[in-house]
Amino acid sequence: MANILFYIALFLIWIMLLYHMFLMQGGYLHFKTFERVIPEWEKKMVDLPTVSVFIPAHNEEVVIGQTLQAMSRLHYPKEKLEVIVINDNSSDRTGEIARQFSERYSFIRVLETEPPNKGKGKSSALNEALRKSSSEVIVVYDADNTPEKMSVWYLVMGLVNDPKAAAVVGKFRVINAAKTWLTRFINIETICFQWMAQGGRFKWFKVATIPGTNFAIRRSIVEELGGWDVKALAEDTELTIRVYNKGYHIRFFPKAITWEQEPETLKVWWKQRTRWARGNQYVVLKFLGQFFKLKRKSIIFDLFYFFFTYFLFFFGVILSNTLFIINLFYDLNLSIGNVALALWILAFLLFLAEVMITLSIEKAEMNRTNFFYVILMYFTYSQMWIVLVVYSLFLEMKRVLFKQEVKWYKTERFEQKDKGEKK
């Protein structure tokens, strides 16, 4: 029995590694080809749509100034652009700082949330702005983001040239990557997520997930879908599934780049990632339960990815680790012997090679320092995720069983220096 379970666990892990290899190839190919359309696409950028940039902000005084400074530098006709800072129940100087910018720049305005959308989290804040704006395209940025000058231009370019795309998502990079060992790990993780999960899935399956920031979506689609789901902790993933289910697709266009701040301490990281994990688990369970009602069965690729990542893969890792540890104390008659260790080593080497290939896509990220961080990451950061997924699953089950209300955790920010336009 132990042998069978061990083989099942190995099989799940090995399949996931193969899938990631496949995604990594796709991501690399996408990197090599995605810019070729731009000269042709530029020709259609004449009759531009009106754009509203939503920036939900709750107690963001540390970062909002820098963010709005970046917004003031956006390359887009100012008569067709408005930047709306959605000041959601802030008790700090967020509103004051935002109003200073709105006095200086006519296209920036501040919107105070009102009941019933007040203080209820990001989804509610976005819905509030949706009601009080009228542009054709909505772009969303988190309050800690500093988008590059051309990011909104490229997001809109994707929508203008791909009429079947409901949304276009860009790429995000870590502005404080060199700050701590944790932010270095997160930097590597985000690069892998962008190019493997987003780029790879888009290349092979024409599927991408809205990442919550640096994306543009057609207003008509958001209104058709009834806005953002206020019960979802991962409102971006939840919106993605509904967009696909309506028959549209989401384009991954990494030419649009934003720089965002990542947690610098473990405590903040834990809370943020627990929210994400719970949010994604909620989405997977919600839509898998409705699988037969889904109009676009191809969305199963997206659901499959999250299901596999959050359930099967981690289940496989936990199971194999558990059996391995038990076998140290009690002979389970595991027949796999040394081969299991060899496979463990091979899995580590696959991880190392895949991540190094993905890092080569971003200039200067494939270097000696990151090589050693990737090795360290396998034994630390990646293992932390296992614990986090189990913990978030426990919290999610508790919420469902005891019918608890979802509480939005606001990620704490850290002081950053404005580095201006990043290349």
Partner: protein, 285 residues
């Protein structure tokens, strides 16, 4: 220059590290007979791939190789095959082998990048030198490269501001034979003499070029086609007789042609040269 030398040092350092690190797996692998030799051969092949095709390709092939080994191990172990039992290499050594594989592929790829970058730097420096030296050493006239730029600019100027210019091409007949008969020194003296005579015969504003071994061009700015034949005849009469260093006189023959460029003509620099050269007339005097 500093950058060039640093690139050389970096290349040599990477080659040294690669060769030294290759000794580590070779020292241990030979003890494991068939499986050790096989793994070592694959290691060499993957390094060669990264040296030729770069880091990413090397890593992709390494990835496929690692995955195949792992899948084979799972399969043979699951089917209880004898092959699985013949895997005798210690786990620690296997881990070292795997890490060395990735590290050596990365070094091989880095070496390839450095060599390619050096090649590109060489090409760029050569291009800069070509741009910098635009003068023909023997005559002091601008060379072919500068001629193309100057005439193209003049065409654009005429298109924008009007007027016209005339381009005269002149080819010395039998220059190779002259060189064979009289030697390199006399040939150099001939070319220098021709250049001096052309300089004196033409206006200061006329631009002179030597665009091939035996070919000259004269750009007459703000000049139409009227009386160009007289200009050419006058030039030819001045240069037809040449005194050698030995004191002897020789008669030279030339072929000439000309083109009058007027505003908004639908032609290119290359087409002008090609057309004039094909219409050249001999001036045997």
């Amino acid at each position: 220059m500093g950058r060039f030398l640093n690139t050389n040092k970096q290349t040599l350092l990477l080659i040294t590290i690669l060769i030294l690190l290759l000794q580590i797996p070779s020292y241990f692998m030979w003890d494991y007979e068939r499986e050790g030799i096989l793994l070592y051969i694959f290691l060499i092949l993957l390094i060669i791939v990264s040296l030729i095709l770069g880091t990413v390709t090397g890593l992709i092939f390494s990835l496929i190789f690692i995955f195949i080994i792992g899948s084979a191990l799972i399969y043979f172990n699951y089917t209880d095959s004898a092959i699985a039992n013949s895997f005798t290499m210690p786990i620690q050594l296997f881990l070292v082998y795997g890490l060395m594989l990735i590290v050596l592929v990365l070094i091989g790829g880095r070496l390839q990048e450095v060599i390619i970058a050096r090649e590109k730097l060489n090409q760029r420096l050569q291009e800069e030198v070509r741009n910098f030296i635009a003068v023909d050493v023997e005559t002091g006239f601008d060379n072919n490269y500068r001629m193309g730029i100057t005439i193209t600019e003049e065409m654009m100027r005429v298109d924008r501001y009007g007027k016209s210019f005339t381009l005269i091409l002149l080819q010395i007949d039998h220059l190779k034979d002259f060189n064979r008969l009289y030697g390199a020194k006399e040939t150099k003296h001939l070319l220098q003499g021709l250049a001096q005579t052309m300089d004196k015969a033409m206006r200061l504003t006329d631009k002179k070029f030597r665009y091939d071994t035996d070919r000259f061009a004269i750009l007459l700015t703000e000049t139409g086609g009227d009386s160009i034949d007289l200009v050419i005849d006058k030039l030819a009469s001045k240069i037809k007789t040449h005194q050698l260093l030995s004191g002897k006189y020789v008669t030279l023959t030339f072929r000439t042609g000309y083109f009058v460029y007027e505003p908004k003509l639908d032609t290119s620099y290359e087409e002008i040269i090609s057309r004039v050269e094909s219409e050249m007339v001999s001036h045997e005097l």
